[in-house]
Symmetry: C2
């Protein structure tokens, strides 16, 4: 790589709450994504607790490995937070009041109609060697150090505060400071096929990939992503090289591919509906609102999502959704005839092109020999026909809800494509 | 600590997909929780990519720091997975076919009506120094090593496979192997008050905590958890010491406390409803099914959750939920009169004791000067009255959905308590 530097980063998350498993660290994940996009290579992620020795050791190790060290957490106003004093100790400097930071904290409280507490005023005292980076969404400021030839950035652990600091300040500063190399990723997203079957399908293609393109399989619930990573100097060449490989593999896997890049299944389905100017509605029993939540998480989903009903009790499957009482009695709520009526009726209720329904035994209780936990019926009704599918899922309630979501959205995708066998 | 060993663990997650931010690592979080419960101290969590050097370095570092090294990932049948060959290299042993593992992989495929592929058969070849731990939910076996005086366990990265291996094999083996020390945690969960106000409220109490009890503030969306951690020899003494402190602080913070331990807000509200034999229903507009999803994530929620409706388009707020067309026209969908009718009507529709409603501008589009993005109205209707609240949230769609969820569940909690002044 010619004019580019290979810039390595380490992400350091600080807090006993992470090591004890009381807070899920989504920060390191998000920072990874953002660094990847600008060509900074994350070489390690480390989590340590609120312990002086552990934090100082982690500082020293990170300094040996990386050019950029991004830290989150340990910045609260309370006594268990150690990041700030240890940064001052590590860089051998004092902690002093920064008037600009005090103004920002005071304004933060005034805007919320609260008075500045002495505890919160302490947030404006910073190590003298740092550049103060304002945090407009919270009270713990960002601290940027350029020391020992490395960049160090300390940010609060509250996700939306950290993200705002990263987007407005840290990423622009990193791009200015380094000549970043070219790493080009392209992700092909598939649904409805397992990792090893996919690997078998494309093994000849994989074997013939050029040496500067690497392939990885990234399985998640009911889905597998194929990630192609190309290394080189010329961004448009890399993009062309990868596009050529994708073109070669697509005919083999087309029916499983719903999108590319960061696109989610709910986004892909939404895009298809918007392009066809079609609408959807959901009748969710065992999925309990999860599918509607996935769909409405996408900005602009009101263009194609009409609404939904969650007739959790069977009584309301009949009374509000109009499933025949005799069908419920004869076949049960978890049955093909019931989901057919649910899908058809919710489509009518909400004037939609597609009506989707789920009914199943999410567990852990409620199963029996004939219909064990994990039995789920799903259906998609269109104007001309209704397609159903029986799923046999797991013993885990949350997993069953999530897998039902993937299956319903995939059934909708197949129906929009008109590929129902 | 007398007869107990202080047992330290490091959690090592392996995979480029983690460093590139393409998969969120929930495994390390879950393993942290489980180790914490049995008194094993997680001292570090490390994530490295699919690189020989990085993985071998991480093995050596972990060996220096910890007694137990738990690894996830890098075990797929595909070429980018390195954990198994590197474990064999690190422990200087061969990789050989384990007939028992081959039987298990073959059975796994047969049960699913598929034939064993040569690629998947490779999963049954294991380092000769490991103990084979069967993975009944997948094809990559667990590998347990007792080498260099340390315990090493390699598990697949697929969460439900890893969890099953941990629960059935790894945790029982660890408990058998070590005399574990006593660390007692107790978590008090609050909602509706920020970290620094809470810290101010309880600072005198905090200052008087005995030295063997540590306090931490764990903020998350709209909630703050207080974690008390006690160290010592005698479990029942520790429990008593902590209970005494909780008893002292409760009168100060009672109105914000909804539960203890791992209890979630949706569980707490569910428990209250079950105890009172009362039912709830939701009319979700801007929250789009999220609140119903939270509630139905809890096993047994059918005891108190009647169902819900998501009248995403205003048309259906009127047609299906019976909100007056004139109210919608005069005040708009995001207004107090609208959420009042939504809450009252959904309560009727579903024969519930409580009807809850949300209507707001989740964003990023759709706001204007008078009702900017983040404006949300919520309501709770009971038989005798309807309580409303206006929220002014953020610019972030997902955050607005989640914060609406917390606020609606907290409003329900307050209404069940009858504390709506």
């Amino acid at each position: 790589m010619n004019q580019y530097e290979e810039v390595k980063a380490e992400i350091l998350a600080i807090g006993d709450e992470l090591l004890y498993g009381q807070v899920l660290d989504t920060n390191s994940h998000w920072i990874s994504q953002e660094l990847d996009l600008i060509g900074v290579r994350v070489v390690r992620r480390t989590t340590v607790g609120d312990s002086r020795e552990a934090i100082l050791t982690a500082f020293a190790e990170a300094e040996n490995r990386a050019d950029i060290i991004l830290m989150t957490g340990g910045l609260g106003p309370t006594n268990d937070d150690l990041t700030k004093p240890l940064l001052a100790e590590y860089f051998n400097c004092a902690i002093e009041l920064v008037p600009e930071a005090l103004d920002a904290v005071r304004t933060f409280f005034e805007k919320r109609g609260r008075e500045l507490t002495p505890l919160n005023a302490l947030q404006a005292h910073l190590p003298t060697k740092c550049t103060y980076i304002p945090n407009v969404l919270g009270t713990a400021p960002g601290m940027w150090f350029s020391e020992n030839g490395k960049i160090w950035m300390s940010m609060p652990g509250v996700p939306h505060e950290m993200k705002k600091l990263m987007t407005d300040h840290v990423l622009p500063r990193i791009k200015e400071r380094f000549q970043l190399p070219i790493i080009y990723h392209y992700v092909v997203k598939t649904v409805g096929i397992g990792e090893s079957w996919l690997a078998d399908l494309i093994k000849d293609w994989e074997g013939n990939l050029p040496p500067h393109i690497k392939l990885a399989y990234l399985p998640s619930l009911g889905q597998v992503r194929l990630r192609l990573t190309a290394f080189g100097d010329n961004p448009s060449e890399l993009e062309k090289d990868v596009a050529l490989q994708v073109e070669k593999v697509m005919p083999i896997i087309e029916k499983y591919v719903y999108g590319f890049g960061m696109m989610t299944l709910e986004e892909a389905v939404g895009k298809m509906l918007r392009e066809k100017n079609q609408k959807v509605a959901f009748a969710e029993s065992c999925s309990g609102g999860y599918i509607s939540h996935l769909v409405t998480s996408i900005a602009g989903s009101s263009d194609y999502f009409q609404g939904g009903i969650i007739p959790y009790h069977n009584h309301f499957k009949n009374r509000l959704l109009g499933v025949d009482a005799s069908t419920l009695e004869e076949h049960g709520a978890v049955s093909e005839p019931t989901v057919i009526q649910m899908a058809e009726h919710v489509r009518d209720m909400f004037n939609a092109d597609y009506g989707l329904a789920s009914s199943g035994i999410a567990g852990p209780g409620g199963g029996w020999a004939e219909k064990p936990v994990g039995t789920v019926w799903i259906a998609c009704a269109t104007k001309t026909k209704t397609v159903t599918k029986k799923l046999q899922l797991t013993q885990d309630r949350m997993l069953n809800i999530q897998l039902t979501g993937v299956s319903v959205l995939n059934l909708l995708r197949i129906c929009i494509l008109g590929k129902t066998e």
